[in-house]
Symmetry: C2
């Protein structure tokens, strides 16, 4: 007798142009596979939903290949080992890896990494101790290079990356100004994270608010959003300013060309630098970054928030909410209890 366990998987059904909707995705029933030697069977505990995934839904050349149609979407996932055919993992271990959006996954033991549930809640490995924390860490420190007394502006400031960027900039002694999309987020930045100023781009004129919040100009702008918010930065740049270009979420769903003031003149006048990057560029240094982030976390110097959506069936909504600016901190989906 053969027992087949059926699970749900989320596939990309149609490539979106513009804003994706639920019709671009499909829940498909697929069997839970059995691990072979050197593999483990994982129950999905948390799924990371991230803006950059939107880019992978387009069929265009980028730093990671596009998702394929009629295959599972994948992203950072925390799983719990429920069956092990590997000497490296035991049942009950927690792991992180790039895995499909489904309830169970089989993974080769060298494609996932064990995480320590005693150091921090396991979900933290998707945020402050994981990809978004490392993105903030390397983008800010390796490209932005903030110095004590300088002014650092970060957009998407209440998001998973932006909130860590601002706090690291504070640790380095900079004056930190955040741009976010609600009064609740602004209060969070000011009251919880200790930002020096924060601007609500939905209710304030960003250009004039920035001018007021940055009387000494801008030395570092950590770019998460692009678009009109970013346009207001350039006239305020100081000489030798640095702009780590991490994201441009405002443009991810554009089907029209994204047009604005050209930046060349501003860069020349101020000898400023813009550097695009993805966290993968720093993979050889992840250990160093994760170690310092963990020590700041344990010292209480870094706080982080999560916006947790309950239930695998709500994964797509959680992803789409990113483009509505709905999340505070890291957006994750809780698929199953971690029992930890």
């Amino acid at each position: 007798m053969i027992t087949i366990t059926i699970q749900k998987q989320i596939q990309l059904k149609k490539r979106p142009t513009g804003v994706p909707t639920s019709e671009h995705f499909e829940f498909v029933e697929v069997p839970v596979e059995s691990p072979a030697k050197g593999e483990i069977l994982l129950q999905t505990i948390y799924i990371s939903v991230d803006p950059y995934l939107r880019g992978r839904m387009n069929d265009t050349k980028s730093y990671i290949p596009p998702f394929k149609l009629n295959e599972a979407i994948s992203s950072g996932v925390i799983g719990k080992v429920v069956e092990s055919k590997s000497d490296l993992f035991e049942v009950g271990d927690f792991v992180i890896g790039s895995l499909g959006w489904q309830q169970f996954s089989v993974a080769k033991d060298n494609t996932v990494r064990k995480i320590d549930p005693n150091l921090a809640p396991v979900s933290a490995y998707l945020s402050v101790l994981g990809m978004t924390g490392l993105t903030a860490y390397f983008g800010l420190l390796d490209i932005g290079k903030p110095k004590a007394g300088e002014t650092v502006v970060v957009s998407g400031a209440a998001g998973a990356v932006g909130s860590i960027v601002g706090q690291i900039a504070k640790i380095k002694g900079a004056r930190v100004v955040g741009i976010a999309g609600s009064d609740e987020k602004v209060r969070y930045l000011l009251d919880e994270l200790g930002f020096d100023a924060a601007i609500n781009y939905n209710t304030q004129d960003v250009g004039s608010a920035l001018k007021e919040a940055c009387p000494d100009g801008i030395d570092v702008y950590f770019e998460n959003v692009g678009g009109e918010i970013s346009d207001t930065i350039f006239p305020l740049l100081n000489n030798f300013a640095r702009i780590p270009v991490c994201g441009a979420i405002s443009a991810y769903n554009n089907s029209e060309p994204d047009v604005g003031p050209r930046v060349q003149g501003y860069l020349i006048k101020t000898s400023s630098l813009m550097q695009g990057f993805t966290v993968g560029n720093y993979s050889s240094r992840f250990g160093e970054g994760a170690k310092e982030l963990a020590s700041w976390l344990l010292e209480g110097k870094l706080k982080y928030e999560e916006t947790v959506t309950e239930g695998f069936e709500n994964t797509i909504d959680a992803f789409l909410d990113l483009f509505k600016g709905a999340n505070l901190g890291k957006a994750i989906v809780k698929v199953a209890d971690s029992d930890k």
Copy 2:
């Protein structure tokens, strides 16, 4: 009896908006002053006319202060000592300095630098051995960092900076593609300077011509022009491309906002860098740059052209011609014979 010698000086009369015309300037008669102790009297031999001077005609904050109304325009000038009250200079010496647009100047002996008329024609110190050569040298090598086998694209390629950029990139073993504004310039780049390909932006579709000329993508783009030509570069960038942003001449006379596709998405996808700069950033390394440029010149590895306008009275026309793309190589005005 007191003899006063009268000379002509070119002053900024009105700040241009948009394209400057002769009405923004005025020829004014002023006395030739006498040098005091530690000063020298110089006869102006060559005047450098440069696109960046347009920016100094606006009353806006930039890396150098704006010209003042009713005062002399100034730029790089080669002068010949006609009277010396300094131990450092003798009558007949040639010097270079930042001096007014006038026929004679008095300069403190520590504000000008002696040049060697035996190493190269003295005008070369305004171009390949001077500011434009150093601009090409440091922008390309310090920011662009071309490697052998990479593809380097330069706009304004037949200009004073661009022509040197392309030749240095060839010296470094790169494949070099130039963009210029006439068939004559294209021929010059291909036949005289050894560029691998050259595009006439006035007769060709730059986007598709670039795609053809850069089958392996673009690793370095040396930006001299901005505007629509520059827009065509971004979709062709390779991973970790570098863009030294030196000039944006297409926008210098804009009175309307200069608008085009935003670059953030391209920079993220390719982890590319844009770095604005001015040659003054490298002043502590001018010696090193000038030495290497001179050695390449003497070895015949570097060629340079000059577009020489004869006569002080034509200085303004020579300047305005820059924005018509009229010059091949460095644009200079010959004010008096050097007798060398």
